[in-house]
Symmetry: C2
Subunit: 191 residues, 2 copies
């Protein structure tokens, strides 16, 4: 009977919030600014979300899901472990490079005090495919016998900080650079 909620608005709100976090930092993420950037009225935000905290958690889960999907793709059985690792690493790195607002958002809000413990735990579960992949590499003796969470932190931390530094210093990476950075990542985990 009534008007329906507009899924395009949710997209616009999420994109607006992340854009603002990237540009001006999370401290200045104001509901009024988010609305303005999304092209809607402030009050409309509260049609879609109970409050600021819920909005932020919703974006968090959304983006984390997107990150996790990078690791969910299927690979041909003839591809070697190394080839799959390389494909996954490149896809993650490129995603961060092309979507710095998403990377920054999840990073900054994880320790902001805004993220509900529940949302964090749900998001962690998205990454079981990646965990399985790393564990199989250990079983096959291809990568180091190291706690999976440590392996992930090591790889992720290196990628994130590299991407952040490049943005800050306006450093453009060419194919050669990328090859080297990947080599560092692979060397760090390979047995």
């Amino acid at each position: 009977m009534p008007k329906q909620k507009d899924s395009k608005k949710i997209e616009a709100i999420h994109a607006a919030a992340m854009e603002l976090v990237l540009k001006t930092g999370f401290i200045s993420l104001r509901m009024a600014d988010v609305a303005k950037q999304a092209g809607i009225a402030t009050g409309t935000l509260y049609v879609y979300y109970e409050n600021k905290e819920e909005l932020i958690n919703s974006i968090y889960l959304d983006v984390k899901r997107e990150f996790a999907q990078l690791f969910a793709q299927q690979f041909a059985p003839e591809q070697s472990y190394y080839e799959i690792f390389k494909a996954l690493w490149y896809s993650y790195f490129r995603f961060c490079e092309s979507n710095p607002e998403k990377m920054m958002f999840v990073e900054q809000f994880l320790y902001s005090g805004y993220i509900a413990e529940e949302a964090y735990l749900i998001a962690e579960n998205f990454f079981t495919p990646l965990n399985k992949f790393l564990e199989s590499g250990k079983k096959q003796g291809i990568i180091k016998e190291c706690n999976t969470e440590i392996l992930k932190s090591h790889l992720q931390g290196a990628i994130h900080d590299t991407v952040k530094m490049c943005r800050k210093q306006k450093l453009e990476l060419n194919e050669e650079d990328l090859k080297l950075i990947f080599q560092m990542a692979w060397d760090s985990v390979k047995q």
Copy 2:
């Protein structure tokens, strides 16, 4: 003639602010709370700092200087490049582990919109000894021919994310774990 400013208060204010950032996140860093935690009146903060932004930048520079000092120590000439690298890596890792409030503070505020560009640039200069060390490793063919900023980001990102993850997941690292994590770091940069 009058009362003098108290350098112990500055220490207390800095420690209080970092403690709060670690415990409750930067968004909820309130001047009144900082004062309370430091055991002084809110107004007293403004005797030592013009405003919140200045306070934060002051802490940033202070902590960055402390980080940089880890790399300023002198080494005996008979120590190999590997031994020095190892000593530096361990000292950085242990410092982050023992002072998570300092690590979190500089990380969170770098992209908060609070940090003045000037403070950032000053802090970068603290790290010339480390840059020189990495560059000499490249010249000697010991470590990879890779942009120094990338090398630093890679090493630092891996350490920070590992320490953060351990805190979040309440994972205690033993000597074996540390050895492995160091091995990953060394393997990633060594030629």
